[in-house]
Symmetry: C2
Subunit: 352 residues, 2 copies
Amino acid sequence: MTNHQRAHLIALDWGTTRCRAYLLGDGGVVLSEREDHSGIMAVTALAAAAGTPVEQVFEQVFDELCGAWLAEVPGIPVIACGMIGSNHGWAEAEYRRVPADLSALGPELTAVRTSAGVIVSIIPGLISEKALPDVMRGEESQILGALIGVERSHVGNLSEERVVLLPGTHSKWVRVVGTTVTDFTTCMTGEFYGLLTRHSALSLLAVRSDLPDWAAFDRGLNVATSKAGIGGILNTAFSARTMVMTGALARNHVEDYISGLLIGHELAGIRASWLPEGSNEVLLCGNAQLSERYRRALECQGVRVTLAVTRSAATGMWQVAETAGLVQESTAVHGSRHSDHRLEGNEREDAS
Amino acid sequence: MTNHQRAHLIALDWGTTRCRAYLLGDGGVVLSEREDHSGIMAVTALAAAAGTPVEQVFEQVFDELCGAWLAEVPGIPVIACGMIGSNHGWAEAEYRRVPADLSALGPELTAVRTSAGVIVSIIPGLISEKALPDVMRGEESQILGALIGVERSHVGNLSEERVVLLPGTHSKWVRVVGTTVTDFTTCMTGEFYGLLTRHSALSLLAVRSDLPDWAAFDRGLNVATSKAGIGGILNTAFSARTMVMTGALARNHVEDYISGLLIGHELAGIRASWLPEGSNEVLLCGNAQLSERYRRALECQGVRVTLAVTRSAATGMWQVAETAGLVQESTAVHGSRHSDHRLEGNEREDAS
């Protein structure tokens, strides 16, 4: 209880497959966090199965995750980001058009009122309205948090132009100038990985392995980023089957080989189509396991990698809550308790 | 019965998801054909579920499909091609290494003897032993049949160098000189289509439509083969979701848009990586629906398309049976009853 007396904000990173709840104190420091698998997909399925209105199930999950905090700190404001603001979420929040300054107020936060009278304020996502439009929900808060982390840790300053990469089910490549997102593009790399290793003919050959085999990953990476990969993933994927048949690849290395292929093709594609010429640095914001794969792949390509601070979504949501006046602006910039370069907690499993 | 008195060969095109049986008469003419869905995957599953040896189930399926023909023409020889010759098939047949002349005898046919004493002779597949090895089973017989069809219909002659494309779950791009396969490569395009439209986040948006929407297909094709597609399918796939969200794509057009994207990326990749410089003609050997999509895509790219004769696998297997002495060599080359340019019956649903 004593620990919670300084709590100022509940921040929810509520995505497709997972909900993370943070209890934040002075300056946005993480006092406590909880997580469960009641992403919006599970909630939707549960509501459909039970014949219950979906809003009611969202409220139940929210109570389970945050009920104790709400009881301890009555009236504490609640902010949320992610797919919870999509048309399959609790309430549909707007998209802000890019260029959009993440540290300035854009459209209003979208308010949901629970039956107990608690207001949950949902942060708008971003939309890039180009020929092939692109959208994100949740990553905007991670990006803002990652940029604040960069400034706090004196790795760089906020006026710079940079590329932020948020790997995941749907990887986001984002160009920012200061805290303004100017453009972004999505690669469904993580989803393709799941499809190939769970549902394809290749999955029949694969034997799951507990530890990554980096040699197999590097083989895939090298194929994808060399002349052998010019035909694209549609053409290289079959090699995961034929190399097992010819004895050139062990079955328990198939998944890491496919991971290397996919990440390699993503990088090659993004370099050719989107990455600014001469761009040789990326701010990488993802979970530890995935970031290690992307770091390896990027460094192989001569791109310098800065790892984002952990819990960047929470840091970003705190900043938005301050800007929106939901919490008192900090008199000083507080160092995050978690401002080390460990990455756990930044994974995005899905987005739009 | 009268019709069957001239029957000389039973030819089986037995793949992963389907078995096609042909009763062939003088010169390889198709007298009768049967098909069912007892591909090797279904047979394997059935055997596992019933605790029956898999050979016994293959024999049951064979009897169901061909028992009446065998009873009518005792001693009729039986030849087979496709995944039935894989290590998950009835008996494992060798691979021939390319370059391989399909009209000459390579390794022996692999013989399976049923409990009733019928010998089924399985045609070897092909392997291309390059850095990323490639394999086919069944397509070698289709290719041979398609080439014979080209000669018979005076569309070209057999000494030419040409590219044969066999679209399907695993599309095969094949270089031949005369009847010799010199190289080939596989694209898992059809499998990716199935994964994206059945198992991905995009599938949730898609509403199946009975008729193809060519405008949606062409949009996907144009994206994949233009500057917007340089990032590859990992990058463009997400547009099937965002364009639905922005109202730019109707839900019942999502699948055709994805089809266009995938085929476009396959062509762009193959042109960049594999297709000989200046190559502007393809012999296209697939089922009618899929061939129409590839024809459209190839012609958009300035590639001239010749459609292969129907039932090319049967024509190819007849030729192999002649070469192997299983049937009497025809005294004259007979025109096929099905030498028109309709394509039904050439589809390959899977391969290796």
